[in-house]
Amino acid sequence: MEHYNMNLTLKVWRQKNTDAQGHFESYQVPGVSSEMSFLEMFDVLNERLINEGKEPIAFDHDCREGICGACSMHINGRAHGPWSGTTTCQLHMRAFKDGDTITVEPWRAGAFPVVKDLTVDRGAFDRIISAGGYVSVNTGNAQDANNILVPKDKADQAFAAAACIGCGACVAACKNSSAMLFVSAKVSQLALLPQGQPEKKTRALNMIAQMDSEGFGSCTNTGACEAECPKEISLTNIARLNREYITAGFTYEK
């Protein structure tokens, strides 16, 4: 792999806090190595801002290996930037070339208020999970793990859905700011497994109700969520969620 250096212009969203007015600010960033990750490029810029006595850019990040779901930058109009199936932290600078201008914004969604600069509040996702994204099994209740057989294809599909990292890219990518891909991933995971069957109706109904009350938009089957999802969660899950939801709506007996 050939490595190279580049000079870039960054246009970054700056916003002091939730209530403040935000704006774009431009920064020249010279000498960026193609081997850096996108966030390491931000580290270099922030180090410079600190040395210049300015405030560094606030952004969420933690594991930097694409699994915690903290990082959340909208880069050149795309959630997590130009590479498909990739979180911002795993995006590397060889995706860009010398002279590029890169625009970086926070997730834009009413249900994800900006906390500061590129950091948003995704607490709504936790509240959706607590509305039903679980199996009600207290510690100590479980039987032997091999007592219930799970067909491999179902286990694999459940795993593919469970791979969701809760980053919110699906919401950010959606023109309606819908959280359907996120909700469907959890509903699907549990609907595909025998352990999730007893609560499948209440789960679908309650999680959707919570999603609506958080102010996420509706789904119009555009598919931007699937296209931008760093874990490539399939749109099929939304179909499955719709099926679960409709079935539950027709047959729920309370």
Binding site: M1, E40, D62, A70, Y134, A145, L149, K152, L190
Partner: protein
């Protein structure tokens, strides 16, 4: 005095007896008992969920924006359990034995046996929660091998086992949040333990969004705050992983156990430049199928494909024929360093070795071709089939490697090098997981207890969940049963006021330095000292130098660090500054501990103590103890020793040959 409170009786009956005789809290009283849990990784989330289910009033804190982001999420390879589903000779005793031996006879036998006993329950519990473990076509759970063992006892979900287990614990936690048994405080950082009459009674936490300090009362406080590998700056830990909670407890009187025991993981992606912010692990599970090699010739600059088979040195298979590529992590790391130091390293930095999948792709391809009755399959067909199998097993890891390095690991061998990954040391705890401060507990990686001087792969997830799901629900009750008459203490108590003032003073002091260098500047410098002098190999002179250098760096930090912004707002630089200030104290203690331990054991390799062929040489006569350090003031630590007794696993020179 250190009292480990290990129950009497034979090893395999201790936990059973303990559970049968420990005190209980009745359900009506549990509702009045408040428990604070700091950290929501596997240990914290599982403890919060389990204690909430029991009816305790739980308050859980995490510095991330959601409990689901704790760094347990990044664990890749798997979780061990003595299920013996493979009928390959596994048992509770075997898992116990492997763990004590793997830890180079520096772990506490009773704790490890308990861990092995509950390991099976963990798998049962996680499956019941809907954790999608890998399965065979018949619908049964699948297993694979990990380092330091000769059985297949590792359960996994592709290369995302930690994620799936944490999301299971997180969903159980969120269920308790919904039921009102757990109150969750996201984006909060614990900055002080509050003690009243010698007992832990609460914490001071900073709301990271508003910057406000908050006082929280608890009848007991559980620290589930992970390890301190980030003292090295570059590690596989998350950027936010820190020692602050454990260090505040240390300064408050909790002893710190075996701080020098650091695990250097053999298979990480090598450093690419000065901008590097963290290192990425390539799961140990890759050593199941990958073969590690370097060229037989020094400074060989040929491409790997141009180096013929007979000119490759599969040095692990050569040195350790019994375990081959699956030797424990400390052994594999040192072997890689030895080869690179001797001039056989590969890649532009020469600080790397190859991890090669060509043989595995061919082997799996042949099996797959046979399954499909393709008995005359061409080499290309076999390779294609083999790649599909490898992709299914390790796809996400290969993708990650490709994204970071720009190279395709299905075609070119991966370059790997050891990196700081885990810390076996941590807060000293007794059998009940209580630290030396009454009512203050430490669970998971934050404590020192189960892995001795070296942790085996797939055992961290097991320990975190064992502590949270199956140990603390019993041991905490045994303590709180005597505390049922204690009413919630109002947080205007002078102890809370004083603790808050101390925290506020420290923050003010940091903000008022207004120096010239960033926090990262100091963190990188500390990391370099630690890696060079308290890393994979340590010696007396280096450690003595490191102690002086760290003291100087710490003084410079408190004179010259620059923290922009305000304390009363979201200020990530201030958060980092507090954490690095604590690392600057911990780093010194790690060197003090490493200097004191004049033997080699597990991940702690003192150059003065090695066998003729360069293996770690223990000194059981003088060092078969846990070093528990008491903080006595800046640069002053007093050593307390907990002797280790081995009844079932008699220490021998560890051999994987």
């Amino acid at each position: 005095m250190l009292n480990s409170k290990i129950p009497a009786g034979s090893l395999d009956k201790k936990w059973e007896d303990y559970k049968g005789h420990c005190k209980l809290v009745n359900p009506a009283n549990k509702r009045n008992m408040e428990v604070i849990i700091v950290g929501t990784g596997l240990a914290g989330a599982s403890a919060a969920a389990s204690l909430g289910e029991l009816g305790y009033k739980v308050k859980a804190f995490c510095f991330q924006d959601s409990p689901r982001r704790a760094h347990s999420i990044a664990a890749q390879g798997g979780i061990n359990a003595a299920k013996n589903y493979q009928n390959d000779g596994d048992s509770v005793f075997r898992l116990f034995y492997d763990t004590v031996k793997g830890g180079d006879y520096r772990a506490r036998e009773a704790n490890v046996h308990r861990l092995a006993e509950v390991s099976g329950n963990i798998i049962d519990q996680c499956v019941a929660q809907g954790v999608p473990f890998a399965r065979e076509y018949g619908g049964l759970l699948s297993n694979r091998s990990f380092g330091g063992t000769q059985v297949q006892r590792t359960f996994y979900a592709a290369g995302q086992t930690g994620q799936q287990l944490l999301l299971g614990a997180y969903s159980a936690l969120e269920r308790q949040v919904a039921l009102g048994n757990v109150t969750m405080y996201n984006r909060h950082e614990m900055l002080e333990v509050v003690t009243i009459d010698g007992k832990a009674r609460g914490i001071i936490a900073r709301d990271l969004i508003s910057g406000k300090l908050e006082r929280h009362f608890g009848h007991a406080v559980l620290l589930c705050t992970g390890g301190y590998g980030n003292v090295f700056y570059l590690s596989t830990n998350a950027m936010g992983s820190n020692v602050t909670a454990a260090w505040k407890a240390t300064r408050k009187g909790a002893y710190f156990g075996n701080p020098c025991y650091t695990q250097i993981h053999p298979t990480c992606i090598p450093v690419s430049g000065d901008h590097q912010s963290k290192l990425t692990l390539m799961s140990e599970s890759l050593r199941n199928d990958g073969r590690i090699w370097v060229p037989k010739k020094q400074n060989d600059n040929r491409k790997p494909a141009d180096i013929p088979e007979e000119e490759r040195d599969y040095y692990l298979e050569r040195r350790y024929p019994a375990f081959g590529n699956l030797v424990p992590r400390d052994v594999a790391s040192r072997a890689a360093k030895e080869r690179c130091d001797a001039g056989y390293g590969v890649g532009s930095s020469k600080q790397a070795v190859y991890l090669d999948y060509a043989a595995a792709i061919e082997r799996y391809g042949k099996i797959e071709a046979n399954k499909r009755q393709m008995h005359n399959a061409s080499a290309a067909e076999i390779t294609k089939l083999g790649k599909e199998v490898v992709a299914e097993k390790y796809g996400n890891l290969f993708d990650m490697y490709a994204k970071i390095t720009g190279e395709n690991p299905y075609e070119v061998p991966m370059r790997i090098y050891p990196a700081v990954h885990y810390t076996m040391g941590g807060l000293w705890v007794d059998y009940e997981l209580m630290t030396s401060i009454t009512g203050l507990y430490a669970l998971g990686e934050a404590n020192f207890s189960d892995h001795g001087a070296n942790r085996l792969g797939a055992s961290a997830l097991m320990q975190g969940l064992a502590d949270g799901y199956f140990v603390i629900p019993y041991t905490l009750g045994n303590y709180l049963a005597d505390d049922i008459r204690t009413k919630a203490i109002p947080t205007d108590h002078p102890a809370f006021a004083e603790a808050e003032k101390n925290v506020q003073d420290t923050i003010n002091q940091l903000m008022n330095i207004k120096g010239t260098k960033s926090v990262d500047h100091f963190h990188k410098k500390l990391g370099k000292i630690m890696w060079d002098k308290c890393g994979m190999a340590r010696n007396e002179q280096g450690l003595k130098e490191a102690i002086v250098e760290i003291q100087q760096l710490r003084a410079e930090f408190w004179k010259d660090v620059r923290i922009p912004g305000d304390a009363n707002e979201f200020n990530p630089e201030l958060e980092k500054a507090g954490r690095v200030a604590d690392f600057l104290e911990l780093g010194e203690l790690m060197c003090v501990d490493a200097l004191n331990r004049r033997e080699s054991c597990g991940g702690h390799f003192r150059e003065e103590s090695q066998t003729e062929d360069g293996e770690a040489k223990r000194d059981d006569d003088n060092f078969a103890y846990v070093a528990a350090w008491e903080y006595k003031g800046p640069s002053q630590f007093e050593l307390h020793k907990e002797p280790l007794e081995f009844v079932e696993c008699k220490p021998t020179q560890r051999s994987y040959k």
